[in-house]
Amino acid sequence: MRAWLRQHRHAFTRALPRIGLLNAVVIGIALALPAGGYALLESVRAVAGRLAVEPQVAVFLDAKRANADALGATLRRDPRVARVRFVPREQALKELAAVQGMSELVAALGRNPLPDAFVVTASEENLEALAADLAKLPGVAQVQADALWARRLASLARLARTALWLLAGVLGAALIAVTFNTIRLQILTQREEIEVSKLIGATDAFIRRPFYYAGLLQGLTGGALALLIVSASLALLNREVRLLAESYGSDFRFAFPGGADSLAFLVLAGLLGWLGAHLSVSRHLREIEPT
């Protein structure tokens, strides 16, 4: 056990000077792109999640409230309708006044310009057809499928997420390639040491170990650098975002990925470095045999 520990310590200290700092910076910058993109997207998603993405249609009535009950019953009978909520015009005005910056406007109006309305939640995705049918019902002044844009935003976010995963995949492969090449160069420059080690009875595992450590540490260093870059960039962005968000009365900020996400990211970067080293060592170490 002690000998085993000592061998690993030996490999570790042999690996430390082999970490290419410049390579780690390259890896850091490459990984900062998907990590930063992830942080931005997660921040936006947190906000977008609060928006209604349910398939909803607002049905505005003409002036006669007497028709409302009959219309409500008709709506509830429609098999395409899941839920119906009646919003009287007084309540609508109250809700509008509650929105920041609107209370003065509402006060200036003098009389309530808003109609009574039904908020209809559809049980199916095809909102346009339902909206068109509802518009033909008697007593209906106007129909608005408000949720459409929110749903478009959600699918846009999904698209961005997929693009981000693709980017992460490509740059992860780049990390493996960079490590592969670093380790290849190290093997070439340490040809003599490897040859001598084989002659004096070093096992393959003993010879490989420092290279594995070097790949792992280089990946970890690159990952840590990427997180630093992301955190610095978000801090810079947030200075501007804070001003912009405050003017909208929002406390929105781009959030740095949480502890678990950051840790998973570091582990992944380390593993990819290890994998690059593994591929390189498997390919190049075999070529060095004492003669």
Partner: protein, 216 residues
């Protein structure tokens, strides 16, 4: 301890370095393998630590058939052998002391015990005062003695030396052979390949003369 029976070695390209070589070396023996350049001395020595594999015949070292050894077993075979090369194969990016420490990296000794053994080996070849030097600062003879220290630091039962005196003046060469003689006196089996027959006959040890790939 080491025995060859009907060993032949053909290199790729058809060149036949050894033909039907048979001999055996008893524990504690010191054997000089002599012959001109190209007679097959280096090939013979390389078969023992499985640097080369025989084309036919059997090479037995410590009861193991080296030619049939799996490559994963070779490191363990080599740990029981001390190898000294004509070109020393020292590492010039580290001190004399660290060169001798190399084989101890995968032994089970503690770091302290390893350092003690390394110094003992350096002392035996008269290089203890130079432990902090870089091998490049040593003379040819000293570099060869350093290579010997590295070969014996793990106390192998067999030491193989390929032309250890080739590029040395007569005085340094004799000192190298004397050092091997001292290790032999404490029971280490030693095989030394050399083309310098004049140097070795005076020791009165067994000579194995190779000519054209055959033992004469």
């Amino acid at each position: 301890m080491v025995s060859f029976s009907a060993v032949a070695k053909r290199y790729r390209g058809g060149e036949e370095a050894l033909k039907e070589v048979s001999f055996s070396v008893e524990p504690g023996e010191l054997v000089f393998i002599t012959g001109r350049s190209g007679a097959g001395k280096s090939t013979l020595l390389k078969l023992i630590p499985a640097i080369e594999r025989p084309s036919s015949g059997a090479v037995i070292v410590n009861g193991q058939n080296v030619g049939a050894l799996k490559s994963s077993a070779i490191p363990y075979l080599r740990r029981n052998l001390g190898l000294v090369f004509q070109d020393q194969k020292l590492l010039y990016d580290r001190s004399v002391f660290d060169n001798v420490m190399l084989p101890l990296a995968f032994s089970t000794h503690s770091t302290k015990e390893a350092a003690r053994r390394a110094r003992a080996a350096l002392d035996k070849v008269g290089l203890l005062m130079r432990e902090k030097s870089n091998p490049i600062q040593l003379s040819g003879g000293e570099q060869q003695r350093l290579a010997i220290a590295r070969a014996v630091v793990n106390r192998p039962s067999i030491v193989l030396a390929d032309e250890p005196t080739a590029n040395l003046d007569a005085e340094s060469a004799r000192r190298i052979v004397d050092i091997f003689g001292e290790f032999n006196q404490v029971g280490v089996t030693i095989l030394i390949a050399t083309h310098d027959q004049g140097l070795v006959t005076q020791y009165g040890k067994r000579l194995l003369h190779l000519e054209g790939g055959r033992v004469q």
